[in-house]
Amino acid sequence: MGKFGLFTEPWVKSPYSERDSAACGLIGFINKDRKRVSGSIIKKGISNQHDRGNGLGGGFAAYGIYPDYQDLYSFHLMYDSKDDAEAAEDILHNRLKVHHQEIIPHRATKMISDHPFFKRYFAEPDPSVSQNGANLEDYIVSVVMEINTKADGAFVVSSGKNMGAFKGVGFPEDIADFFQMEEYEGYIWTAHNRFPTNTPGWWGGAHPFTLLDRSIVHNGEISSFGINKRYLETKGYICTLMTDTEVVTYLLDLLLRKNNLSYELAFSALAPPFWKDIDFMNEEDKIKYTLLRSVYAGAALNGPFAFLFGFGGGLIGINDRVKLRPLIVGTKGESVFMSSEEASIREICPDVEDCFAPQAGEPVIVYLNGNGQII
């Protein structure tokens, strides 16, 4: 594990190191009409929640930011050092047709001076891959897993179409400055301010966690991490990023893409109704949820959480079943905001029309209008 791997020194020391009582912050935005907004807006929202983190992680996921390459998979890669790029690039060039690659633009800032090396690649599988009967998305996932496990010092930060994740060690506003987020425009954004409790604060451990076009930011702790990880291993997913949130990304890939569950059912598998509530349901629901819980016992998440799940077609927010973390949803016209704190929503949209807190365990699902670009 290289310089930016295990046991990294936090590059930003928390100014309130005497006592922190925060527990991660998150904020998300979607404009259903695909009207794009600048990253500076989401930076404003997440920095309002500065005190929810401690400088050990910040990150953003943005959708609609690469309109010129929208049909290609955009890979964001993080390398411990420039030299580590070679092994990963060999894999990429061998397994994919890379149309364009470049260093991800960034600027040295006062808060972040030492950092990994970031590059992005716009690529697609060779036509022969699908002609031979392989599923294109399975193929991309296998490329991601290969890089994460075989290329030392290299990690895939994101691998979706017309989207990208930007993250690292620092407060999110500092990460936004570092990656020049004000230059990007997207119609779905999520942002995260990390306060790590169980796993190290390192560049790869910041949120969001992504696979294909799905991204997760998470406030909470997944106490069922061991169970979920083992379950995922039986399905071919390998967890390498030393953070509990990684399992949620892969679980959703399994439930949604491989097993074709609806979003409602997939999130029900993650946050299933209690048995005592199933007892009170009508016959049809009783059978449905009993089956769901039995088949997907390994996917159920235990522990407190509030998640924002971004994907090519929309944004979903959900709490654990006993609501141990905050989540507020606000709407204005075709824009929807989801945040750990209402103040952050009002910071970026002072005239937000309606603010409410979703019920525990019930997902708030917002789709883009018309056909979303589903990957």
């Binding site: 905050p326 209402e342 103040a343 807190a357 525990a360």
Partner: protein, 247 residues
């Protein structure tokens, strides 16, 4: 009266400023552009101090507060009134989770809905009785482990007509105090330690002045004086866990 603009200042600076003004003898403080600022009013003492908030205050407002009055013109967030000893908090909107945790005196009024785990372990002693009045609906674990005081839930002004007035696990572990709920209670959602009953004359006598005060502070004339609409929830055992280690 003094106005403090909270725009672009962090919560530590804001709270230091508030305390400074109070030390100088200021009794009436108006805060503008509050946006997620935490810990406003925490630990502040004095029966003649009033803080008026424009904007959305951040987490843990009025924790350990002892005497002052805080008015929030919009919504509040989580953790309001934690271990509050005295004073009055009035919220003209919604509030979040874990309100009035361990509250031991004073009053907390919320116009609209509240979240989960509201009124946990509220406690009273002699004539020190904390009172919380919620205009809307409440989520799960309402009044959990309550030991004293009054929790009043009115079920008006709710944004969600589908939700029941109170959630699951209501009054779990309650062993003191009284919860008054205006609306339908589902038996199976109550904790094992409590039962619900219709109101008696003594309850009406207790509620009338509190509800009048709530209406006055909310600047509304709510139709909440028909006591046949209410149930009261009280513990039916002084020692709900007395048998726990026996069997």
């Amino acid at each position: 009266m003094i106005t403090i603009d909270a725009k672009d200042i962090d919560y530590k600076t804001l709270n230091a400023r508030i305390r400074q003004e109070i030390r100088k003898g200021e009794k009436n403080i108006h805060l503008q552009n509050v946006s997620g600022h935490r810990y406003i009013g925490d630990g502040i003492q004095g029966n003649d101090i009033s803080i008026h908030i424009e904007g959305v205050p951040g987490e843990d407002m009025a924790a350990f507060m002892d005497g002052p009055k805080i008015i929030v013109e919009n919504n509040a967030q989580d953790g309001v009134g934690n271990t509050m000893n005295d004073g009055k908090v009035i919220i003209h909107g919604l509030a979040g989770d874990v309100l009035g945790y361990g509250m031991r005196g004073g009053r907390l009024y919320v116009k609209g809905d509240v979240g989960y785990r509201v009124g946990i372990h509220m406690k009273g002693y002699m004539d020190k009785i904390p009172v919380m009045v919620i205009g809307g609906k409440a989520g799960n674990f309402f009044g959990e482990y309550m030991a004293g005081g009054l929790l009043i839930l009115l079920g008006l002004n709710s944004k969600d007509s589908h939700r029941p007035v109170v959630g699951d696990y209501c009054a779990t572990g309650m062993h003191g105090g009284i919860i008054y709920i205006r609306g339908k209670i589902e038996e199976h959602k109550l904790g094992k330690e409590v039962k619900h009953f219709p109101l008696e004359k003594q309850d009406e006598f207790t509620l009338k002045p509190i509800l009048s005060d709530f209406c006055k502070e909310m600047r509304e004339n709510y139709d909440v004086f028909d006591f046949s609409q209410y149930s009261k929830i009280i513990p039916v055992s002084k020692r709900p866990y007395g048998r726990m280690y026996v069997y």
